[in-house]
């Protein structure tokens, strides 16, 4: 019973904060509301027996990713005015209608046994020695060893890519060309 209460409290906090992320004018407020969403989701992970993921969610998402966001916001300056002109005609109403269609579709799928009734294929959530951490680790380093190695390559590529992109170049930019011509 208490699980249901916690779920509804945390889910409503997360949904309200997610709406706030979209609706807030100031990007800093959006980032702070994003932290609220992430921490409520971490609580939802705990009530679903995913203790390790809850910790990782707080450390990696709320700790690293949102701080990176705030860092870039501070670097570029807060820009509160947002153009209301639409380059594509009637983009915003169409986006909202499309969103409602997506919501109906996913809710339809979520309520159906033929879409959600897959069978267990790998190790169990409860059985086995050690806690949640050990079971996730065993799954990562046995069943998912090859994807794990591939993510190492992905991270190296991301590090190199961001260093190359953030490097300062002396070549004239497209803006300079436009201004001089």
């Amino acid at each position: 019973m208490s699980e249901v209460v916690i779920f509804f409290i945390m889910a409503s906090i997360a949904l309200c904060a997610a709406l706030g992320v979209v609706l807030a004018r100031n990007p800093v407020h959006s980032a702070l509301l994003l932290v609220t969403v992430l921490i409520s989701i971490a609580v939802l992970f705990i009530i679903q027996d995913a203790q390790l993921l809850a910790a990782v969610q707080v450390i990696v998402y709320a700790g690293a990713i949102v701080v990176l966001f705030l860092f870039v916001i501070m670097l570029l300056g807060v820009d509160e005015k947002e153009s209301l002109t639409e380059p594509v005609k009637a983009q915003r109403p169409v986006a909202i209608v499309l969103g409602l269609v997506v919501l109906a579709e996913v809710l339809f799928l979520a309520g159906h046994q033929w879409a959600t009734g897959a069978q267990q294929s790998r190790g169990s959530l409860q059985v086995g020695d050690g806690g949640n951490v050990e079971r996730v680790a065993r799954s990562l380093f046995t069943d998912f060893l090859w994807p794990f190695e591939v993510t190492a390559v992905l991270l190296v590529a991301a590090v190199i890519g961001s260093v190359v992109l953030a490097r300062r170049s002396n070549k004239p930019t497209i803006d300079d060309e436009v201004e001089t011509s």
Partner: protein
């Protein structure tokens, strides 16, 4: 009243929709990125819900890979944004960046 996976799937569907609509509606590049994070988190909630309901640990393992991809995406994406705004002193709107060349 018991907590079934349908609650979590419904919650994830709503969160995903908010993120998707936000991505299409907003013009600020940073807020658009945050909306992508919302969508990724909705998928994570779905994975963990299935992991619980099917009693299968691999759902939780896959969330790790989503986290890694999210971290890599944010690092590269923010580097692109910083590189763009170093070159042009405009506002942080996506509509200004439509030339597709350096």
């Amino acid at each position: 009243m018991k907590l079934t996976d349908t609650y979590f799937l419904t919650f994830a569907a709503m969160l995903f929709t908010i993120g998707a609509v936000g991505f299409l509606v907003r013009r600020n590049v940073l807020v658009m990125f945050m909306c992508v994070e919302l969508m990724l988190n909705a998928v994570n909630v779905t994975f963990v819900a299935f992991s619980k309901s099917l009693n299968d640990i691999s759902g939780q393992a896959i969330v790790f890979f989503v986290l890694v991809v999210a971290a890599a995406e944010v690092a590269v994406g923010l580097a692109i944004i910083v590189a763009i705004f170093r070159r042009r002193r405009g506002g942080a709107t996506a509509d200004d960046i439509d030339l597709l060349r350096g």
